[in-house]
Amino acid sequence: MDKLQHRKQVSKLIYDRTPMDLAELAVAEAVRMKPLPGNRTATCVTAEGWADASKLTWEVRANSRQHYRRCRKRSFLCFRWGRCADNAVRSYKYSPLTFLPLTLFEQFHRVANIYFLLMVVMQSVPAISSLRWYTTAIPLILVLMVRGLKDLASDLARRKSDSQINSQSCDVLDSQRFCTVMWKDLCVGDVVRVHKNQIIPADLLLLCSSEHYSLCYVETADIDGETNLKYRQALSITHNELTSEPSEKGLADFDGVAFCEEPNHRLYTFRGYLRWRGEDHVLNNEHILLRGTVLRNTEFAYGLAVYAGADSKILRNCGKLRVKLTHVDRLLNKVVIGIFVFVLLLSFFMAIGHGVFESQVARDAPALSALTPNGDFIYSAFLTFWSYVIVLSPLIPMALYITFDVVHVVHSLFINWDVEMRWEKNDSPARARNTSLNEQLGQVGHLLSDKTGTLTQNHLLFRQCCIAGRIYGDASISVEETQQMDLSWNPFASGQLFMSAPELVQQLKARRCPFSKEFFTALALCHTVMPERSKEGIAYKASSPDEEALVGAARDLGWVFHSRTRDNLTVLELGVTREYRVLAHLEFTSQRRRMSVLVREPGGGLKLYCKGADMVILERLLSGCPCLEDTERALESFAQACLRTLCVAVRGVPEELWEGWSKILTQAETMATSERDSTLETLYEDMECDLLTVLNTKAMLCTHMQLLGATAIEDRLQEGVPETIEMLRKAGLKIWVLTGDKTETAVNIGYFSKLLDPDTSLLEGQELREILHSADPGYSVSKARQADAWCVNKEMVWAKTALVISGPELAEFDKEPGIGAKLMGLAAQCQSVLCCRVTPGQKADIVQLIRKHSSSITLAIGDGANDVNMIKTAHIGVGIAGVEGGQAVQNADFSLAQFRFLQRLLLVHGRWSYRRISFFLLYFIHKTCNFALVNIWFSFFNGFSAQSMYENWFIAMYTAMYTSFPIQLFALFEQDVSAEGSLRCPELYKVGPRHQLFNPLTIAAMLAQTLFTSLVFFFIPYGVFHDSPLDYQTMAVTVSMAAIFCVDAEIVLLTRYWTLFNAIFLCISFSFFFSVTRLTQQPRLFLLAPDDYFFVGVSEKAFADPLVWLTALLAGWTAALPALIAFTVNIIISGPDKHRVHTISTPQLTEFRSKVKRIDSGRRSPRATSRTAGKGDVITSGTARHRGEPLLEDKLTADNGAIDLKMMPRDRRLPPLPPREPKPCEARV
């Protein structure tokens, strides 16, 4: 208890201070506090975590099942009680009882549905009812039904998956015995036993495990997508007490109480303490096994269920996908609102017309004037207003939204179903995670791409290395052509080493060179990889592909990393087992950009192995370090060959130094464990810097860092990337590559991936700055360039220029107002843009910049956690389901396995979707408006009395049955150009980014056509029916027929891709009109309900009347004439182009993947590299927080380091190497 109070004091102290003096404070506190053995560093704790411990109100009592059964969360209707959730997952929304009310409730959240419900209600008011109630009710019910069925289907699917999850089994302790129960019966407070490879059923507090020190390993792939194993460790108190005696009994007697935070969604933090036997023990994230993770490499783990079911972190963390509105959506909403306002306005004018008619005309006609209620024409006009709102309500396309939804879903399914977007290698198809953005895929103007893992494979191969200044391997020989070395002497060799350096192998086998020996020992020791032994050999589970490649290379060359325990690393060095005791593990962070491991050699010596970004390591070397120049030269050549490089160094550590340092380290770690503040990370960082620099000088005891060499890893471009980029550029997309890499690497990649043409010039640095600061960027640059280019044409100068901006420059520009717009203006004229060394935050800022300064649609594509910001900010986010974790995919709207599938996603699916949906919307609005507008023209001839032009049944069926199927099929199947044709002519894509199909202009044109059509619908029959003996009902049927003729003629003109379905459904809906009209005008129905079927016998007579047919035909034809003329003119003008596409698209399949042989073009080999890319030197401790792009160079530290290093004394332990001997090993061979 005193510990808790103590912590409160500390909290208070720290809360009031700045982070700067926190470091001191932490050390001081650490000394005072009794260290808790067995605990490791705290990971991440938010600042408020310090504030007060009173938030730890969630109390879990072990082995008190009955208690928690009672307080289980329950709910009835909207009442909820109980405190903790049970472990069942209930993602379904409806029960048989609540389905109907709930689904209706949800659906009437939509304004349109409420509006139509209102219409139905109004229609049943006799005074204003100009239509019968069912004219609106039938379509409304259909819409509600379709939507309801959709909800029901997805709910049933959810129920099914729920029950699958809930019926998984787990072992729960029940009075001294473990018995198997289903997940859903697990309770908070239960003690659970988890077997190897079992999924953890709830958030458990790890009590003990079958391994030493109660360690256990979990795989968190389902949570964060990381495939490496992470370890968790029980409190030493529970470990000691519970594993000493037979576990069941001990566990059954366990009566600790865990106090922790209320359930929350923070996956990486956990705060709490365990009160047991009168003592409090602090708990953190390291003690928690999260639901959904998998237990690995551990026989058993025993845990106490802390959060169950809906309270568990993973379920709390399930965010909802944001609703993104597309450009088309927004425009459509405006159109619909416009129509609504138009309806009200029209109704208003019609009501005025009615008033005037009543007062001027009807007054004199006794037959009419008697009908005016009380002779009050203003009241009558008021009623008429509402009547017109009803009569004109079909103008609002009610079925549009639901049909639109269905079309969207099917388009998304088409993306999911596309076999050509499935990557064979890992069986991952494309996924549309957000089903409402399809048409926007056809409108992308800016493509923002991450580099590593997106353009490149992120499947890393160890290609070259430089040991003591000598380069081994040759990266200019491609992977396929590399001769495999004979590694048969090594039973662990995997055959996956694509490096040919027989001399290195000989050296190693002969053990002649201490440098190469140390080099590979470093590779085998300095990492966070977990080995998994199986029959085939050893598989490595690494959090970053770099580590896997390095450890794998060491294994193939005879330094086999064999196993890891908490304190020991076992390495088989050319068959000799050597155990290294791990003394300290200096973790990787993106700021430090290096990691180190301090080990005690089997011989007893202490060594620190360090690897990291070349710049960081080189700074820490003593000047005059042997092989430095050679290594630097090697690094340069690696970079030119586009390889990712890391430097490896070693230093001997004197015992005295270790002893002093370890004390402070232990204290600091304890402090960190107990307090968990992110500021301690800084402290930790300082500690490590001390080790490397400060302590050296102070103690004058230890050796300096000794450079061993450098590794070169190849990260190859993904298949088809250059082709895809070239094609997308042809399609008019502006491609921006945003990377954390160095400028040179990024530019190299730019050339290889055809982002830049060989003759593209770069605009960067000072020149860029000058241009941006000049008054007229465009002018000045063309002038500047004119000097060396003959080309006077401004645009020509720009077309071959690429903008290269670095992160620091961006940050600089950010501060100046107005620069953003200039930059965008400049970028718009340039070929492409490369942003180097940008942070994840900046990536998102760039997206924001583009969104702010241009109307173009942005698509961000990336694969890592560092791209999440960008993906979320862009209009469309695409995640590459690749080697890195699933976070990008989790946040993306679409997921692809490979970058090259983007061309199909955009050029084929996107283009089709945009085209289909644009025409679908235009046509849909057109067809609903043109038939409803007729009522307006009719009003002028019926005294503005809101007399409907149509039979009620026709109105009810028109949108739902007579005209919906053909356009829906159009929206699903239409292809103006085949998939192959779309890919062959990427230029066709340009229509989308320019918003050419669905924009205010096309909408206006469509509305003008609608107006014309409705005029024709009315006035041609008017000419015929005027002063004739034909009655109103015949005219109603004639106009209906004309509308059907016109609408069907227009869909025929629109459809370019006639499948059997299109033809059949066109015929069906056409004949529906005739058969349903005949049916509803049957005498039998009239006898049942004279009020509803008063059109009895009309169609019978009208369909037999040639005059009606001729009139309807003429009206329908004339109404369709504008569409026909547009169609014909379109063919005449653009015919040959389309024709070309068609004729080229012979049935042969285009090979989607690149078959183009990669030809080395001079010094640029077709490979990608990233020395400092996001994952490049990530040697993480296993937590995702450390991931991310390295931040900007910390120049200050580096300088200090350099100064200190100069003053460092020489190494005592390692034999100093002759300084003037550049290739020591070679000399000895």
Partner: protein, 337 residues
């Protein structure tokens, strides 16, 4: 990475899922659409000519008898105060007016398509449902009841039934010979047989017991045609014709056909007198009344509009195609060379 990769995620490779449904993609070029356009235009012109010729061959005799003008033959009757006014329309036919001749009355500026007017009737009552004889529907208001007595047929539409009468005489050798009018079958079959039924009960007057006639009517419904029970009450042909609302404010309604005796072939040349019983007031709302004699063709009565419209649209198509041809020639031929 394991070499064996599952295929459970492989989507179905069917024509539908891969969007490769067999389809007909019409390859349209200017060479097809322009001639197509011309052909359609020509077809329309053809129909237009046929309609126009047919329409021209129809004989029509139309006379306004509102009697607004002073020199009009019905001038005396247009005053509402004059009851049972009769006026004579004399006309001469130069040649045979080919039969069968249809005789219409026409009204203009008369809004039969006014919504409230059209709804002002009781469909149930008119289909002979006795319940609604005592309780007429509200929609009939204000012609629902007179005092407490329900009206049958109720509503403004029946109430305003046209009640001018016509008799046609041919002057043969100085004597008037009545041309027989055929008033049967002028209404729709469905109206006569299904939509309108008399209430059960004989005599008809008994069935209408407890109701009164619409205020404008001089006599009750069951006395519309006392000579023929199958033309009386709600199934009176003139009543049915009236009840079928006109589409537009200017309309005509079939009154009689001339199909009997020697006039079945038509009205021979000669002098005729139409005696009009002028009862229906239209002057108040600037309405017009007229009588029309017409014969019919396969397309019904005379209708110049449709033929001309067809001709116009047809020729527009042809003109458009010529314009397109020019555009095509101008812009495309140089390219293709």
């Amino acid at each position: 990475m394991s070499k064996e990769v599952g295929t459970e995620n492989r989507p179905d490779n069917t024509a539908f899922t891969q969007q490769r449904l067999p389809a007909w993609q019409p390859m349209l070029s200017a060479g097809i659409v322009i001639p197509g356009f011309v052909l359609i235009g020509l077809a329309f012109i053809g129909i237009g000519v046929a309609l126009f010729v047919t329409s021209r061959n129809i004989q029509v005799l139309e006379r306004d008898y509102t009697g607004v003008e002073r020199d009009s033959f019905c001038y005396g009757c247009s005053d509402l105060k004059v009851k049972n006014c009769k006026c004579n329309l004399n006309f001469t036919l130069d040649k045979l007016f080919e039969g069968p001749v249809f005789f219409y009355y026409g009204l203009s500026n008369y809004f039969q398509n006014y919504r409230q007017y059209g709804n002002s009737k009781d469909a149930n009552q008119l289909s002979g449902d006795k319940e609604y004889f005592t309780e007429p529907d509200e929609s009939c208001a204000p012609y629902e009841r007179v005092g407490d007595v329900p009206i049958a047929p109720c509503g403004a539409l029946p109430n305003s039934m046209f009640n001018d009468t016509f008799k046609l005489y041919q002057m043969v050798n100085g004597t008037r010979v009545e041309v027989p009018f055929d008033g049967k079958g002028i209404s729709w079959w469905t109206d006569y047989n299904i939509k309108y039924r008399n209430p059960p009960g004989t005599p008809l007057s008994k069935a209408f017991e407890g109701t009164t006639n619409p205020p404008f009517w001089p006599r009750p419904a069951y006395e519309l045609d006392t000579t023929d029970p199958s033309n009386n009450g709600f199934i009176n042909q003139d009543f049915l014709v009236w009840m079928r609302r006109a589409a537009l404010p200017d309309f005509r309604k079939l009154y009689r056909r001339i199909t009997e005796g020697e006039y079945a072939k038509g009205l021979p040349a000669g002098k005729y007198t139409l005696v009009i019983g002028y009862n229906y007031p239209v002057r108040a709302f600037n309405g017009k009344k007229k009588v029309v004699f017409s014969n019919v063709s396969w397309m019904g009565g005379k209708n110049k509009f449709l033929g001309i419209a067809y001709l116009v649209i047809g020729s527009m198509c042809v003109v458009m195609s010529i314009v397109m041809l020019i555009v095509y020639a101008k812009f495309k031929f140089p390219d293709e060379e």
